[in-house]
Amino acid sequence: MRPSYTLSDRTVGLLFIAPFVTAALFFMIYPVAEAIRMAFYSYNPLRPELSTFVGLANFEYIFRDPLFWDSFWQATVWTFLSIVFQTVFGVGIAMLLHQALAGMAIFRGLLLFPYIVPTVVIALIWRWIFNPEIGVVNHALQGAGLINEPIYWLSTPSMAMASTIMLNVWKYMPFVVICVLARLQTVPLELYDAAKVDGAGIVRRFLDVTLPQLKEVLIVVIVFRTIWTFNKFEEIYLLTKGGPGTSTFNLAVYSFEQSIANLRLGVGAATGVVMMVMLSLGSIIYLRVSGFGEDERAS
């Protein structure tokens, strides 16, 4: 006999979900709704009583602001290069770790470690090792004879961009490694044996056996990382504050600066809404490629 779901059961069920519903209403739905509402208001946090409805003026403002478009394109470049390098290094390292060798657990632990290092710490270390006069990176490069003049890593626009990309690649490469490694472990060994019998070398085996098997997981990882990387704030702000000048601004930094430095919360919120729209588009792609929730719909 199956136990029936009695009234008391129902009460337990509702009691258990109540804290979540409360927290979601007050601290998730309300702030996001408020963020959308603020995008249509002129809002100064020091004079909240003066907030007025301005319609689409905030959106007009950002779409006419050259800095918004600069931030948009810089974010695009930043995201694209970060993802490319993360994926290439991530797959490479996952292949290295996917070998039956003694001591592999130690290597794996060390190579995954960057993921849990606080962004503040990485930014501090980056500022130290990439310091133009006393940083170890310039020392090493000069010592090896690769450069004659010190590189101003954080104070020239292109190098600042390169430094933030390196930071981002370094921190999130483990994410790719873990996803790819998990998939590699399920690739049937027979496929490799068959390829070997057919005389395929290491490169051919990678291109013809491994890569097709990794295709699905890579698409999911890439879409997901793209969504996230595009909206990153701390990885840029803590290292360069968006500078030098505004050369490493992305939309998140733009929104933050509009809200904090210019006290235009409405403009910051409008930027946030634009980010959310792009995020939703990305998420739809993500849901499509990952086939998420299909089992639910079927049942």
Binding site: F107, W128, E234
Partner: protein, 299 residues
């Protein structure tokens, strides 16, 4: 040695060499930070830089942990450097601990109860909530940090650790919810039914049967929640003002204020900030990997 054995050995040797080189490159920034933190001031700026310090000193760590003001020579007088961020380091450390553990505890309790309710009882909306929650966790914090700050203003909680605890619940709860839901769903319902038939009450079943089974999921969710809260900078930066109330991430960035940056002290602070996460990582690495598998991860 047969030809096959020879190739086997060579392959393994090459694999190890490549692995070691890659691991060294990935870990180098962290190794360099540790090395700098152990050097006396004179050696930090020595050329060529030394990887292994000639003189090892714990001065930087002592200064942070004891929080005593630093003295330096001015003419023939010893003068203190006045109030320095280093004096607040341990206080910030404790603050970070409090908000991390507090928010994690709340997130875990709420999400575990909710996930149980959603997977074991039937009511309207029970299939929608987890997906809605997943959506919530895709929204970048930069979008709702200011509205949430205004909520804190209304609750008269600004510049308090409690505001930060609530803020972190807000960013970690959607993910914990999703993860716990996925985990609860995979626990077979038959064990519970058996216990219910044996006359156990719903709450007994939850406490004695479900919770122990769900422990790996709870641990994975807790690790992620702790990493996110400990590493956050944005919320602390927006919510907190007074030196006494800052968390580590926000506080340590203040080390850059003033004319002179003490890199040894800064690297020691970075190392100390990373240690709790490192311990967590080493102790629970396999759960971390399991957490990655359960769904895409915020970061």
């Amino acid at each position: 040695m047969t030809r096959n054995e020879f190739w086997g050995h060579t392959r393994r040797l090459v694999s190890y060499a490549v692995l070691c080189a890659v691991t060294f490159l990935v870990c180098f920034p962290l190794v360099w930070a540790v090395s700098t933190s152990l050097k006396p001031k004179s050696e930090i700026f020595s050329t060529p830089p030394t990887l292994v310090p000639h003189t090892v000193t714990l001065e930087n760590y002592k200064a942070l942990i004891t929080g005593r003001p630093q003295y330096f020579q001015s003419g023939d007088q010893q003068v203190t450097s006045g109030t320095t961020p280093a004096q607040f380091f341990m206080r910030w450390f404790v603050n970070s601990m409090i908000v991390t553990l507090g928010s994690t505890l709340i997130s875990i309790v709420i999400s575990t109860l909710a996930a149980y309710s959603l997977t074991r009882f039937r009511y309207w909306g029970r299939t929608v909530v987890p997906y809605f929650s997943l959506l919530g966790y895709m929204v970048p914090s930069i979008i709702f940090v200011f509205p949430l700050f205004l909520v804190m203003v209304q609750l008269d909680l600004t510049d308090s650790l409690l505001s930060l605890v609530l803020g972190y619940v807000c960013i970690t709860l959607p993910f914990c919810m999703w993860l716990m839901w996925a985990f609860m769903r995979s626990i077979p319902i038959e064990i519970e039914e058996a216990a219910l038939i044996d006359g156990a009450s719903r709450l007994q079943v939850f406490w004695q049967v479900v919770l122990p089974t769900a422990l790996p999921g709870i641990i994975a969710a807790a690790i992620f929640s702790m990493i996110v809260s400990w590493n956050d900078y944005l919320f602390g930066r927006v919510f907190l003002n007074s030196l006494d109330n800052l968390t580590l991430t926000v506080g340590v960035m203040l080390f850059f204020e003033g004319t002179h940056v003490d890199w040894g002290l800064l690297m020691a602070a970075s190392v100390l900030m990373t240690v709790p996460m490192a311990i967590l990582f080493m102790a629970l690495q396999r759960h971390l990997v399991a957490g990655f598998g359960a769904g895409a991860v915020k970061g």
